[in-house]
Amino acid sequence: MDDSQIITMLFARNDKALGIVADKYGNLLYRLSDNILHCREDATECVNDTYLAVWNNIPPHSPNPLVAFICKITRNLSLKKLREKTTQKRNAQTLPIHELEFTLADCTLEQSLDARELARKLDRFLDTLDRESRVIFMKRYWFCDEINEIARAVSLSESNVYQKLSRTRKKLRTFLEKEGVII
């Protein structure tokens, strides 16, 4: 069943749609959440909350693509939970995105830049990449996938994936410098 049919079912308030979403994207969502939280119970809870959010938000929303919509919900819920856990335990858990922060650590950010503008620039940067590098970048820094998982997913060796990530980070830095985002 394609996503538009799922959305039609949701608009019709057919709760079987959630079962179909779970069958189709459940593993993806669970892995995304688990990559961030590293806790089976918490990840399962976030995925279930995602289904609830999907039920509550469609309608009125009619997202296209659906997968990005639900992945964003799962990611946001997982990050929120991670922040709660971190506050409670007072131990910061490292996410892959910190590698990016580290790459840009010695730079000064342009003061007036807001997140939306930065996101637009990141999108433009991603458009400049070849598909494989872009997917690897997203899998690592958005989906927080482990390197071996990415290597499996893109049929490359782990060292190749590392090299591609390293080059992409360098490109990103150069791109942001050219764009005046970092000084």
């Binding site: 993806l28 997202p63 693509p65 997968v67 990005a68 919509f69 992945c71 964003k72 990611r75 946001n76 990050l79 995105i97 910190h98 590698e99 990016l100 922060e101 580290f102 790459t103 840009l104 650590a105 730079c107 950010l109 830049l113 807001d114 997140a115 939306r116 930065l118 996101a119 990141l122 999108d123 991603l126 598909r131 494989e132 872009r134 997917v135 997203m138 899998k139 820094y141 958005w142 989906f143 482990e146 390197i147 071996n148 997913a153 893109v154 049929s155 782990e158 060292s159 590392y162 990530l165 390293s166 980070r169 360098k170």
Partner: protein
Amino acid sequence: MKNLLDTAFCMLDDRHIEEAATYTPQTKTISFKKILPIAVCFVLVVVSAFAVKDYFSPVVTTVSPTITTNGNYITTADTNTTVAGVVEGSSTVACAPEITPTTTPTTAPATTSSGTVEISLYCTTPMIDYTGWESMPFQSFYHCIDIGGAYYYADYVNNSSASHTDEPLEKEKLGALLYKFNRSDYRFEINGSGDFTVEIYEIIGYSKEEAVAVGRKDGLMKGYYPYYRIINNQERELLNTLNECQTLSDFIDFANITADYTPENFCTSFWVYYKEEGKEDVTYSIAIDSMEKLAILLLENRDVKAECRTGNTGEKLTFNAYLKGFSCEIYLCNDGYLYLNKDGLTRAFCIGIESYEKFFNSFKLSSVVWTPENPITVG
């Protein structure tokens, strides 16, 4: 920066997320139509090459080698190069120790007193770069002794001994033993002097003040002493990656690569000792709990000493690695394994070293000070 980046990532375009979520690698198929012209060109080139090869002499790159005073060695580092130059009073020509000959060197005329002699000698790129290492007079032969955790070294030539802290033997006694000790042997025991055994370690390299011990010449195993295994391809690949690290970012990448390794043995942290100029010994230490910190230290301090300690007991291992410059990010414990820690936790990385020679070759040392008169002895 962190929050902004996090937030911006949450706002990335849906199509990028969808693409990554649904990505399936394309099957790479080789089309016969595409490969045909290439194959035809290849065949033509090969046939042409065979057809014309007799009409041309092989191209030989000739460089002027640095030939040492007695003319016995070529120290050029050129790869696969036919070298030519003036040989004075020499009968044979060989590669310097850091260069591996891949062909048998041609013998130059024994009667040549001077003149240009072309020598067919192909040498591989040297693995060892001695840059930055002190010259080592041949006679100044050091041995390192480990006695129950204490760490000694001695200079045979000057008939003196020196030691580090907590020595269980008096210096004088140790010096006398060392003086009498036949240096062609590498192990002896002291009976009746205590319940400890003295182990002699061969020294394969040293810095200005202290020797570096890596293990026993005889390769015997005792306690936590050296043992070896063959490095596997994956480790070799990783070692190559490590050697290619040029920047801090590269180094961090490498640390990430190694993060998932869980070797049987590991060090829980690195203690990096700084030597302050003008002071004799270690002045202070800092526990390195992450590769990032270690990498930064390596970048900022070109002369740091890493010492590996076991995690459970804090027992001192006798290997001390001098990290000379960024080209030497290799830490070897005295069990013959290379360790790189990440996060100061159990995740570490190890590379087994097949032999001392291999280990030595795997080091990128620094400053060519080698001469035929004063070769650096490497075991």
